[in-house]
Amino acid sequence: MPLIIKDEYPEKLFRDDGKRLDGRDKTELRPIKMEVGVVENADGSAYLEWGNNKILAAVYGPREVHPHHLAKPDRGILRVFYRMTTYSVFERKRPAPGRREKEISMVISDCLKPLLFLELYPGSSFEVFIEVLDADGGTRCAATTIAALALADAGIPMKSLVTAVAVGKIDDELVVDLSGIEDKAGQADLPCAITWFNEELSLLQFDGEMDLKQMEKFLSLAKTALSEIYEIQLEALKKKYIDIQEEVSGGNN
């Protein structure tokens, strides 16, 4: 795809035929592809392509805590490091992690903690490293989704998976799964994540304006989208084992 030289916002975010700029309907997701077990060295790993987003996540743990003073004697700790490559965005990002990356790391970490049985791992740490290789809107939701999958791939006991998606408002219409340009030029953005064991929200942020009625609509749109993504997550997780099974049985299964 050729690069846009000017980072300009279009006047309208809907085409004349009522579809969005990338040809999607209002409630349509971008194409999502997930795969687990992609990093040889890691205890668990996952790779995701969500529209133009490309994200790699790897999990190491349980292992010793470095630096040691962070260790908790009564439970394990979960540390999430969300980082972007310098070439993942329009203007080259500085290599050192910025405030945005640190905030998102914290938000994702808080979102994942309720899933784990950290009290069973005193003195140790789980580390989730997320690298955004290519970014086009909604990376924090994509990163959360793929981090959960990497944790599951590492065989770490979890209550359930977590799935995240962003819903938002562009040109006064509510839409699901904002792309990069819709995120920047739109009016509102609501990333949220659901923990499936209790079906509660464990990540929720909002920027923009909405009334109570819209809020309800937002959340119901999100819920439908989340179920759709959850299916893809489960498929990706199962696929690794189906592939192994087929390899073992020589493709006769």
Partner: protein
């Protein structure tokens, strides 16, 4: 999943060394053979050139970004090309977070020098207006899986990223930068194709492309960058010492192997055309 150890056991070490004595490798390779190399180009939509290179299980993803800035005063009509490397903690339990350490700086520097001294990037063509505006290219390498010999994989991925580049062409009109809508491609920017070849040394045995266990028990390494007919940079690292004869032999070997590898990888197939 592969278990990575910081220390190689005496039994495994002896096994590797015994094999080397017989001029064999523990993974079945010959002394002067590379592991399998696979290259994917232009994988990142946001980058102006990119490559995803695997050398055995070692995997490096490189992206090229550009900026327009002022040239250095001593080279007023030449663009700038910089190389950065990051050893992501994703890639290995041996890597830790934080600012670049010696290993990642060495990786970036050796790859950079191989390219810089080889008449590879045509910096004179990266000038928009002398003294005012030149292109600054950033080649950023990210290690995604570490299984030994980052330098050679990095060299190949940096070169592929350059060849797959598509940088918007700009020109100065009345002191303002305007975009012509055309792109500078790899053929325009790149001339020579430098390759860096790394050899490990244990006792008096030397071998190409050390894998991770070999790298961990090596006394030292030597990296030699070569173009079609010249040697452009050498870096010896580690405690090992090399005799004059060994250096001469390795220089000659590097030219031969480099020539063959350049032919096998057929870099120009990774050129990207955008109009």
């Amino acid at each position: 999943m592969m278990k990575i150890k910081r220390v190689i056991s005496a039994i495994e070490k002896n096994y590797i060394i015994q094999n080397l004595r017989k001029e064999e490798r523990f993974d079945g390779r010959g002394l002067w053979e590379y592991r399998d190399i696979s290259i994917k180009h232009d994988v990142i939509a946001s980058a102006e050139g990119s490559a995803d290179v695997s050398l055995g299980k070692t995997r490096i993803m490189t992206g090229l970004k550009y900026d327009v800035g002022e040239p250095f005063p001593d080279m007023p009509a030449e663009g700038v090309c910089t190389v950065m490397a990051e050893l992501l903690p994703i890639a290995s339990p041996l890597f830790e977070r934080g600012p670049p350490d010696e290993q990642s700086i060495e990786l970036a520097r050796v790859v950079d020098r191989g390219i810089r001294h080889a008449d590879c990037v045509q910096t004179k063509k990266l000038c928009i207006e002398a003294n005012k505006a030149v292109y600054i290219l950033f080649i950023d390498m990210y290690v995604l899986n570490y299984a030994g010999n980052l330098i050679d994989a990095g060299g190949i991925s940096a070169l592929t990223a350059l060849i797959s580049s598509h940088i918007p062409e700009g020109k100065m009109e009345d002191g303002k930068l305007v975009w012509t809508g055309k792109y500078l491609d790899g053929e325009y920017i790149v001339k020579e194709l430098p390759l860096v070849l790394t050899y490990g040394k244990i006792d008096n045995m030397i071998f190409l492309d050390p894998s991770l266990p070999e790298e961990l028990i090596s006394d030292g390494k030597i990296s030699i960058s070569v173009t079609e007919d010249k040697i452009t940079s050498i870096q010896k690292s580690g405690e090992a010492t090399f005799t004059f004869d060994e250096i001469n032999m390795l220089a000659k070997k590097s030219m031969e192997i480099g020539k063959q590898l350049r032919k096998d990888l057929n870099f120009w197939q990774y050129k990207v055309n955008y109009e």
